[in-house]
């Protein structure tokens, strides 16, 4: 379970990036946060990972307070970033093995590594290929393999589908569904309204650091998410029907 309590970040004592954010992601739930550039999505993830310190408020993972016990909290967190470049001169297997060890695994067999790489849809010939020859989609798959390998309770994804082709995006969502079924709490930030609508159990719309609206799965299915998003993010009002 992932939770934020009045989580706030102010840069240089003047720029409000995140304002008293309160949200909760249960185990086996996918929470998608939508927002324009600079809305505070990445700042929120950075605070959840203790990359930056919150100005006030706190965040918890499995009831562990992240700012107070960052190292303990990080054992329960896996992370997939937007641009997963990884170590370009390493093979997929070498990258995965390294991050698995960092994630706390003492020994990882090649079979286990290959199984995980296969699970995220990487072709077998790519296992021993250097990552610099990978497409963005392949690197993204490897990124999620790293998160899977860590077997953490909460998974944070920072705009993971940006730049993926439709097939890559669809495969990626399937992987998220699998993680959800395993009971992971998944927190994902994105601009991609359509994929958010497809996968999210709940959606939060973040505008200038404020959580303006939170939608449940039913509300997501009922409402015109695009219009709602544009309304909050850009201030657009839905166009009136010309025939009326």
């Amino acid at each position: 379970m992932l939770e934020t309590r009045d989580l706030t970040k102010v840069y240089n004592e003047s720029v409000l990036a995140v304002n008293e954010l309160n949200l909760k992601v249960d185990d086996g739930e996918i929470y998608v946060v939508l927002g324009a550039n600079g809305a505070g999505k990445s700042t929120t993830i950075s605070m959840l990972l203790n990359f930056i310190e919150p100005t006030s408020g706190t965040a918890l993972v499995d009831d562990i307070e992240i700012p107070k016990f960052p190292l303990e909290a990080k054992k329960h967190l896996a992370y997939v970033s937007e641009n997963v470049e990884l170590y370009r001169n390493f093979t997929a297997r070498q990258n995965l093995s390294f991050f698995a060890k960092l994630g706390g695994r003492k020994k990882v067999s090649n079979e286990e590594l290959d199984a995980t790489l296969g699970r995220v849809g990487l072709p077998e010939e790519a296992f021993t290929r250097r990552v610099k020859t990978f497409s963005k989609g392949m690197r993204q798959r490897l990124g999620i393999a790293i998160a899977i390998m860590k077997n953490a309770q909460a998974v944070l994804l920072d705009e993971p589908t940006s730049g993926l082709d439709p097939k890559g995006g669809a495969d990626f969502l399937n992987l998220l569904r699998e993680l959800k079924e395993e009971g992971k709490a998944i927190f994902m930030s994105t601009h991609d309204i359509f994929r958010a609508k497809e996968i999210a159990d709940r959606i939060g719309i973040l505008v200038q650091g404020n959580l303006e609206r939170e939608l449940t799965r039913d509300e997501i299915l009922d409402e015109d998410l695009e219009a709602l998003y544009l309304h909050y993010v850009a201030g657009y009002e839905p166009e009136e029907d010309a025939t009326e």
Binding site: S46, L49, F51, I52, L71, E72, K74, K75, L77, A78, Y79, S81, E82, N83, V84, E85, L86, Y87, R88, N89, F90, Q94, F98, F99, K101, L102, G103, G104, G143, I146, K150, L156
Partner: protein
């Protein structure tokens, strides 16, 4: 965890193109320059021995009775140091010998003067490779240590694990340093083996300790540049910017600052040229000789009358008259020449001291001073050389020059009485050995500076990295 990170770091470097560049530089440059410089040393040693032999033979043969004031009656030769294979230092810019003349110590030509084109291009020795090539490679190994990981997104993925930040940076420093230092040490060892196979006296305890010292300070210097690269990398987001900044820092630290220090010193504390000092001394001698002849002439006329018969008896009387005048003018000459020398020496020492201090703004200068001292081709060797020359001159002055009188009366007197008994000229003394403890005493400032820089830069990098918003 640290081991995992260090292993990754080592692997990361080994698979990169810069490691290939390092390997090539190490394996080609280090043994090759040691080999070439040892051959040069052997040649210089042969030249030195031949010159000493020839000079000693000339001195022993027939010392001139009344040599011209500019004539070199004996020479103190500069013996090449076997450790010059590592750092040529000042050896080639020092005069090959110090000639002893009645006017003072005259400097022989330098090796640089004999090969001006080579000197214009600079020395290619172990010190140059470490100070210039390896410093650049060290920056190439570290400029993207943090910035590169930030760009690749691996910093966030790595630190998303239960990993203290200091471990990450330590792994960067240790892993990178190991990958850098191992080929460096291996190539250096190969170079040493090559030298030993050619007869280099590495087994001598003093030389072995000095070579060990050279190795340690090279490692320390590389460590300083690892620190500089890491600081740049932690302060900058983009590895391209970090590379440009690192290269600029390298140009300033290695190529510009050491020279600027001495250029500034020339403006702050100017000195006269050595030739002008020598001419000043010649002028003093000429003036005093003219004055002495006038005084002596007046004295002789006053005592013996205007017209004298130059027989043995008269010469005896004249010699008696001239003795106190000779002593007085010899004393005057010594005092004036010593004053000129002292003033010139003071000017030079001040200029050098200012230049040396200013140049220490960069670690490259400290390394050069340290390496030259350890290789016995630096300031200590130069000072010992000139001090030995001065002492030798003082000895010759007492034993030989002081007794030479060459005014017109003496020439006539010698013509009448026949040549006086020839005195043998003492051969040039051996230069005193510079002990390792003395070398360390002179090098302690530079050693401390390098240690301080390495620690300070590492601390800055850590402090910045701890506060970094990832």
């Amino acid at each position: 965890m640290l081991m995992t990170l260090i292993q990754k770091e080592i692997m990361h470097h080994i698979l990169s193109i810069r490691f290939v560049a390092l390997l090539l530089m190490c394996l080609l440059l280090v043994p090759l320059t040691l080999h070439i410089n040892y051959r040069n040393y052997l040649q210089n040693q042969v030249n030195y021995q031949e010159s000493v032999k020839l000079s000693n033979a000339e001195t022993e043969e027939k010392p001139p009775d009344s040599p011209h004031p500019n004539m070199e009656v004996s020479k103190l030769f500069l013996e090449p140091s076997p450790l010059s294979v590592f750092a040529k230092g000042l050896e080639e810019s020092l005069p090959s010998y110090l000639g002893m003349t009645r006017n003072g110590v005259k400097q022989g030509s330098t090796a640089l003067a004999e090969a001006p084109l080579t000197s214009a291009l600079g020395n290619l020795d172990f010190l140059f490779i470490v100070s210039t090539v390896f410093s650049l490679l060290a920056l190439l190994f570290t400029f993207d240590a943090v910035a590169g990981e930030r760009e690749a997104g691996t910093l966030r993925i790595t630190l998303a694990n239960a990993l203290p930040r200091d471990l990450f940076l330590w792994s960067k420093l240790i892993g990178g340093y190991i990958v850098f230092v191992v080929p460096f040490l291996v190539s250096f060892l190969l170079g040493l083996l090559l030298l030993v196979s050619q007869g280099f006296p590495l087994g001598e305890p003093d030389i072995l300790l000095r070579v060990f010292g050279l190795t340690l300070i090279s490692l320390l210097y590389i460590g300083v540049f690892f620190g500089i690269g890491t600081v740049i990398s932690t302060y900058l987001d983009s590895s391209k910017t970090a590379l440009i900044v690192a290269f600029t820092v390298w140009v300033l630290a290695v190529l510009i600052s050491p020279r600027v220090g001495f250029l500034t010193a020339k403006l702050i504390a100017p000195t006269r040229g050595i030739q002008s000092v020598y001419m000043e001394k010649t002028a003093i001698r000429d003036n005093l000789n003219t004055e002495k002849e006038k005084v002596l002439g007046e004295k002789i006329i006053g005592t013996l009358g205007a017209s004298i018969n130059l027989d043995k008896e008269t010469v005896k009387k004249v010699n008696k008259l001239r003795e106190p005048i000779d002593a007085e003018y010899s004393q005057k000459f010594q005092e004036q020449v010593e004053k000129v020398d002292r003033d010139y020496q003071r000017e030079r020492e001040r200029q050098e001291s200012v230049g040396e201090t200013l140049s220490r703004i960069t670690p490259t200068s400290s390394l050069i001073y340290l390496a030259m001292n350890l290789s016995e081709t630096g300031k200590i060797k130069r000072n010992t050389y000139f001090q030995t020359g001065t002492r030798y001159y003082a000895q010759l002055e007492d034993e030989y020059f002081r007794n030479i009188v060459d005014d017109d009366f003496q020439t006539l007197a010698q013509f009448v009485t026949g040549k006086s008994e020839q005195k043998k000229i003492t051969p040039a003394p051996e230069m005193a050995d510079i002990s390792l403890s003395e070398t360390l005493r002179h090098s302690v400032v530079d050693l401390l500076l390098l240690c301080f820089l390495a620690m300070a830069l590492t601390t800055i990098a850590f402090l910045k990295f701890f506060r970094l918003d990832i």
